[in-house]
Symmetry: C2
Subunit: 287 residues, 2 copies
């Protein structure tokens, strides 16, 4: 595989960042990989395991010759991180990210760069409830989608290079408007997380005859709430960065629940069965 980039800085060497490092290294599309982060712990672990060639923790030491800046920090840190590198970014360095929310980031980044650097928003839909470079996996992106969200202003050549980067990591690359991406993800990912958190808290606040309800949670409850094990601060940030779309999905969900509640209260057996059967059928199609 020919080199795509000479020097990649990965800002945020967590599960995603470290997995990108491993996968990019394995397929030989990047010559040198430098890590950046706020805490030295993840960086030195990633360095010891040779996921990265070197690292820095002071933004002032952003390395010369960097032609790809991959921002894999939590969503809220993406723009501030890039801003801190701005004075040292060389012309032609492509900047990209892996944030789960895109519209706010694309807008802020375009404002920040004012056309001086190409920014390609990206969202590889892969991950797990685990975090940290110790769980990194070079296969993490294989056969997973990676959604690019170029705007009308995005440099086409940069989009093609980032697309090529992710295809090399095994991802199925597609493009989408930032706003469409955010509405889509609110529905298939952000809403389910909020729903799971809310379900666990409803249970934890409920009082039934002094019983410890947690002891009675069987497989079904565990399945449905597994994603409530995800990192709270990460999901706080995602919900706030995508607040309009998340709130709108939540409103639809609440409407649906209110309808079911009313049918249950009124004993509307037929409507209830139709609704459950529809969900059953759709769920089957999801596989």
């Amino acid at each position: 595989m020919p080199l795509l980039f000479h020097k990649m800085v990965i800002a945020g060497v967590g599960l995603l960042g470290a997995s990108i490092a491993l996968a990019a290294r394995r397929c030989g599309i990047v010559a040198e990989i430098i890590g950046y982060g706020r805490g030295v712990e993840s960086l030195s672990l990633a360095s010891e395991r040779r996921m990265i060639d070197d690292y820095f923790i002071d933004a002032e030491r952003f390395p010369a010759g960097t032609d790809l800046l991959m921002v894999a920090t939590p969503v809220q840190a993406i723009v501030p991180t890039v801003r801190s590198f701005l004075p040292r970014l060389e012309p032609g360095c492509i900047v990209t990210d892996v944030g789960s929310v895109k519209l706010r980031i694309v807008r802020q980044m375009e404002k920040l760069f004012a056309g001086k650097h190409p920014f390609v928003g990206a969202h590889p839909i892969a991950g797990s409830e685990q975090w940290g470079p110790q769980h990194a996996n070079a296969d993490l992106f294989i056969d997973h989608r990676c959604i690019l969200t170029p705007s009308d202003n995005t440099d086409a050549q940069a989009v093609e290079k980032i697309s090529c980067f992710w295809r090399n990591l095994g991802a199925k690359v597609e493009s989408m408007e930032p706003k469409v991406h955010d509405r889509l993800l609110a529905m298939v990912s952000h809403l389910p997380h909020v729903a799971a958190y809310a379900l666990v808290n409803t249970l934890s606040k409920a009082e039934v005859d002094g019983i410890d309800l947690k002891r009675y949670c069987a497989g079904g409850f565990k399945d449905i709430t597994r994603i409530a094990s995800s990192r709270p601060e990460l999901w706080r940030d995602i919900c706030l960065a995508n607040r309009e779309a998340v709130a709108s999905s939540l409103a639809k969900y609440i409407h649906q629940l209110n309808q079911l509640k009313s049918w249950i209260t009124k004993g509307e057996a037929q409507r209830l069965e139709l609704e459950f059967a529809r969900a059953n059928e759709v769920r089957r199609q999801i596989g």
Copy 2:
């Protein structure tokens, strides 16, 4: 193991009924097992596989000498099924069930029997999204809870025999008031099912730029909605038989979701994180 019952009729030879047959046979606590059901298909399959010794489909042919009637039909069919056997039930025959809802059933059964037969409500908390005797499993109840819901009127000796029956099948037996059971189960089982059905339907009704949202549902969505694969008519019946407790749990859940929605809209980062972190911690305790 000494015999507990000479002749057990299992009404409803589905996953639960057939698993009870297999498990009771294996530990030798029942001499003869007779199946009953509306459709001959499950019965003949269970008979071919020697899960049951014989079967009948006409309630009039309820066998003489039956000393245990185990009702393992869907919730709505429990009382009508027992009513159809009533003329042939012999004195001393213990009647029990495996319904996921208890208060309505216990009340109706006590009214039906008027003290003439001992009824012991029971709910083994075990099962799967699969159904039918072909998925029966003699180990299904091992280390699972079985909640008995005797009322003040329930014959103590009958309770002890049913308790012994379930302990022999490997279950951890405990007792609870019918009403407490129903409120507990509404929270840990019925609410999560309704939440999952509603989540799938919210997705299926949402419109995002003409995209087929189902194609973007990854692991998290699949986990949280797996129980939406459960049988619609079964969950319709459970929701209606336990409507007060289910509606009350739903109201609490909707309240929780509305609160989160308001915090997301207003950008209340700290409250949001606290709430997610609380869910995270509780979920960890559930294991």
